[in-house]
């Protein structure tokens, strides 16, 4: 590390592109969205009038708002928990010195590589009536018909597709975490009588994976709040708004209803929710880490 003052100029030069781009395309828009959320604007006219928190009131008063929040909460919880749980299960399986483990890793990571658009379209076809899932469920005597066109199954179906796509990514993160656990701990545990798989997992593996879980939870939360393309191509927010989540609603407010003030208020809401959750997670996990050490 070189700390002489004459290098400060060089540091400024090296940082200039990244700093300017981040300022223009991240911090300026952040400030702008906060400013816009207390103004009324239809997206076209040059007039942006200050309205205080009126846009937030309008947003909350919309009859659809409660449904949007419900969908967002269900979607986030419904994707984060299963994709982490399945990802962890896959990692534990793929970490065992058994045949097929490389195939398992490759196949379960593959869905992460395809785009949400491709995966979404493929799942629309597989969930259509007479499609793959209709056939498979038919074996059990259930005939759901079209899974995407049905308000009671659409959200669950999008969640299933999202989980299929993200579980392999979480597996990779957990596999990296499993590598950091020294084998000696299991040997020491075995001497203390910790021999069966479940006890080993509960007392050694899971606590040792704490840092991985911390990171996996945060990144999955961030990803789930962002999910737009899957919903756009699979359901268009429908049927009867049953899959309209906050990010979909923001787009709809701005580009379909030309209600930019409300869209900005909704963006601000999303910003606050994500920030509060992330900071909350960081505080929760760091406190836990301190308590243990």
């Amino acid at each position: 590390m070189v700390g002489r003052r004459r290098l400060w100029g060089w540091a400024a030069l090296f940082l200039a592109p990244a700093v300017i781009l981040t300022a223009v395309f991240f911090y300026y828009p952040m400030g702008y969205i906060l400013w816009l959320s207390v103004h009324h604007w239809n997206g076209l006219s040059p007039i942006k009038s200050f309205t205080g928190f009126a846009e937030f009131h309008h947003l909350v008063d919309e009859s659809i708002f409660g449904l949007v929040i419900r969908n967002t909460v269900l979607f986030v919880i419904g994707t984060v928990i299963p994709s982490i749980a399945i990802g962890l299960g896959l990692a534990l399986l793929a970490n065992r010195p058994l045949p097929l483990r490389n195939l398992l890793r490759g196949i379960s990571f593959a869905p992460y590589l395809v785009s949400f658009v491709s995966a979404g379209l493929a799942w629309v076809w597989m969930g259509s009536s007479g499609g793959l899932f209709d056939h498979l469920l038919g074996v059990f005597g259930v005939h759901p018909g079209n899974l995407v066109d049905n308000p009671s199954t659409a959200l669950i179906y999008v969640i299933a597709m999202y989980t299929w796509k993200m579980a392999g990514y979480n597996m990779v993160l957990y596999l990296a975490g499993l590598q950091t656990i020294p084998h000696e701990i299991y040997e020491a545990g075995a001497i203390d009588g910790l021999k069966d798989g479940w006890t080993q997992f509960r007392t050694i593996t899971w606590p040792m994976l704490r840092n991985s879980t911390f990171f996996v939870v945060i990144i999955n939360l961030v990803f789930s709040f962002r999910a737009f393309s899957a919903i756009y191509v699979m359901t268009n927010g429908g049927p009867v708004n049953s899959t309209t989540t906050l990010v979909y609603y923001i787009w709809n407010l701005a580009f379909v209803q030309n209600s930019w003030g409300q869209a900005a208020a909704a963006s601000t809401l999303l910003l606050i929710v994500v920030l509060v959750l992330t900071v909350g997670m960081v505080r929760y996990f760091t406190k836990e880490v301190f308590r243990i050490s």
Partner: protein, 288 residues
């Protein structure tokens, strides 16, 4: 793939415990492989099916008479060649831009001590948390005012910096011994030359990882090109795919064929750079 130290050491091949473990876990693995892999197989089967098979939902489990013409038709029905070109231009430009901006910023943050260094690093990393949708509207307004909508400028410039790249290079440069830098400085090289001639070549693994992940992310990206393009001549492949669905809603065999060929480049890159991709993802988890 990640090299993993086995949790349970492999015992003698035919030992009893090993056999028990085999029968306990291998069926689970087969189940998981089928669950995650079958949709891919089914998509390919769909893409090779006849119109009748698709519309009646009677897809054969094995390709008895594959309709290869579906691929040709799907390619010809739309403007995919143009969209592939657009996407290539966008993805390559963004990748190159991110490698340059990230390695420069990562170098300054790792190797030069200046006031506010830590705050700046936090300021970069914080951008990873906020969803793009939060800031998309102001960027759209900015692009509209610049008259950049429907141009490559709008597709490339807003994503020319990536905090993940800065993080990756910074972590990498921190591991390089200081003596190397001091030696090159004594040789009369200035920091610019030290970065590009000494450090950057050493950071090849970081460059490979960032390039692969960025290229794949750009190839697959939807929301940004969706907002910032207007005409089909500027569409990227993902937008083309959505437009295809709009026009040929239930012609699923052609739609699946399009889905397959649009995903091929990503899988080729994955097969070539599997290790770098997986390690890149794992690094964010273990060093974050």
């Amino acid at each position: 793939m990640v090299e993993v130290t086995p949790v349970s050491k492999p015992g003698p091949v035919f030992s009893r415990t090993r056999r028990v473990k085999f029968w306990r876990y291998v069926p689970l693995m087969v189940l998981a492989i089928l669950g995650f892999g079958f949709p891919f197989y089914w998509i390919i089967m769909g893409s090779l099916s006849s119109n009748t098979a698709i519309s009646t939902g009677s897809i054969p489990l094995f390709p008895i008479s594959p309709h290869w013409a579906n691929y040709r038709n799907a390619w010809l029905y739309t403007n995919f060649a143009r969209q592939v070109l657009n996407t290539l231009v966008m993805s390559v430009a963004v990748t190159v831009a991110q490698v340059i901006t990230s390695s420069m910023a990562g170098f300054a943050l790792a190797r030069i001590r200046f006031p506010g260094r830590q705050a700046l690093f936090v300021g970069f990393v914080a951008t990873l948390i906020i969803p793009f949708q939060v800031i998309a509207l102001p960027i759209f307004v900015l692009m509209a005012n610049l008259h950049w909508i429907n141009t490559f400028g709008a597709l490339i410039v807003p994503t020319a910096v990536n905090a993940f790249g800065i993080f990756l290079y910074r972590q990498f440069f921190l591991t390089i011994p200081e003596a190397l830098e001091e030696a090159s400085m004594l040789d009369g090289a200035n920091p610019w030359q030290v970065l590009w001639r000494v450090y950057w070549p050493l950071a090849r693994p970081a460059t490979v990882t960032l390039s692969l992940l960025t290229f794949i992310a750009e190839w697959n990206s939807f929301y940004l090109p969706f907002l910032f393009t207007e005409t089909k001549t500027m569409y990227t492949v993902q937008l083309g795919l959505v437009a295809f669905q709009g026009e040929f809603a239930t012609v699923y065999n052609l739609l699946m064929a399009a889905t397959v060929f649009i995903s091929i480049p990503v899988f080729i890159l994955y097969l070539l750079g599997q290790r770098a991709i997986v390690e890149g993802i794992a690094t964010t988890g273990t060093k974050g």
